[in-house]
């Protein structure tokens, strides 16, 4: 297999970031990235996506629910 196409580059990104690629595959990937600025951007964005989503998806329990939870647990955990 020669240098990767953009599609092959995208297909292996998870394995690349998890360190699961062979040295040969990694060399093909890096050769492609050396010639393809859009894929360099793509890789950076793929890497950034989990962190961005994690921050966007952080939720806070509604206060009313927090009070209900506390009351429920107090009721369930009180000594018999």
């Amino acid at each position: 297999m020669g240098q990767f196409s953009c599609k092959e580059c995208v297909d292996v990104l998870r394995a690349f970031l998890d360190g699961e690629m062979t040295p040969e595959e990694e060399a093909h990937l890096k050769a492609h990235l050396g010639d393809c600025p859009p894929c360099v951007d793509f890789v950076e964005q793929y890497k950034a996506t989990p962190g961005l989503c994690k921050r966007a998806l952080a939720a806070k329990m509604p206060e009313e629910l927090s009070h209900k939870l506390k009351a429920f647990l107090r009721d369930k955990t009180k000594p018999a």
Binding site: R14, A15, A48, R55, L57, L69, T77
Partner: protein, 209 residues
């Protein structure tokens, strides 16, 4: 699937630290106020995970309640080799998955995964947008946050749960396999496709700005 008492493997989430260890010790000795403090530390994360997995505030509320009650019931069995937070998050993930499995038969159809397009020669059809600054340094504004929430909710269930458990909760592939009953290769494949779909959604957001 794990039971609530199986708290003896480590998950990739932050521990509660020395203060958390002390609270846990007191809670295990029957100090209910210490248990309440532990709950307060974890309730937002447990609720958030349940909300994202089930997409239902009512289900998330019940899952949070069931999770902490289950944790309380098994507190004395908890061996403390994992952080208390990791342990309750895994209980919450199990509870959310069980609820999803039960309602799967009536689940409305979900959106197809959006993936990047390529030419016949495997060249990217559309170069990525410029996200201005490296995305991990960006402040999440409300619009981007909403776009990400919608894109996450649109992921097919099996993809959404893997993404949330791995990239948001920080569980290992093996832990996710244990919870979901799916194979590690299947989980890795779904994670990759979920990330691609979410990257596309963020890229789309910037292309429309």
């Amino acid at each position: 699937m794990n039971t609530a008492a199986e708290g003896n493997s480590t998950a990739g989430m932050g521990g509660a630290g020395d203060a958390g260890d002390e609270l846990l010790r007191r809670a295990q000795e029957g100090d209910t106020s210490a248990f309440e403090s532990l709950v307060e530390r974890e309730q937002d994360k447990v609720y958030g995970l349940a909300l994202r997995m089930t997409r239902s505030e009512a289900d998330a509320a019940e899952i949070a309640q069931d999770t902490f009650f289950s944790a309380y019931q098994h507190l004395k069995d908890f061996r403390g080799q994992a952080a208390f937070g990791s342990w309750v998050h895994r209980i919450a993930a199990n509870n959310a998955l069980m609820r999803l499995r039960h309602r799967r038969v009536v689940e409305k159809s979900e959106g197809a995964l959006v993936e990047p397009g390529f030419t016949d020669l495997g060249i990217l059809l559309r170069p990525p947008e410029q996200w201005e600054r490296p995305a991990d340094e960006q402040v999440i504004d409300a619009e981007l946050g909403s776009a990400i929430e919608r894109a996450t909710d649109r992921l097919p269930e099996g993809y959404r749960e893997v993404f949330l458990l791995k990239d948001v909760e920080g569980l290992s592939y093996e832990q996710i396999a244990e919870i979901t009953g799916d194979s590690v290769p299947a989980i890795k494949s779904r994670l990759h496709r979920a990330r691609l779909a979410l990257r596309e959604a963020i890229d789309q957001f910037y292309s429309e700005k």
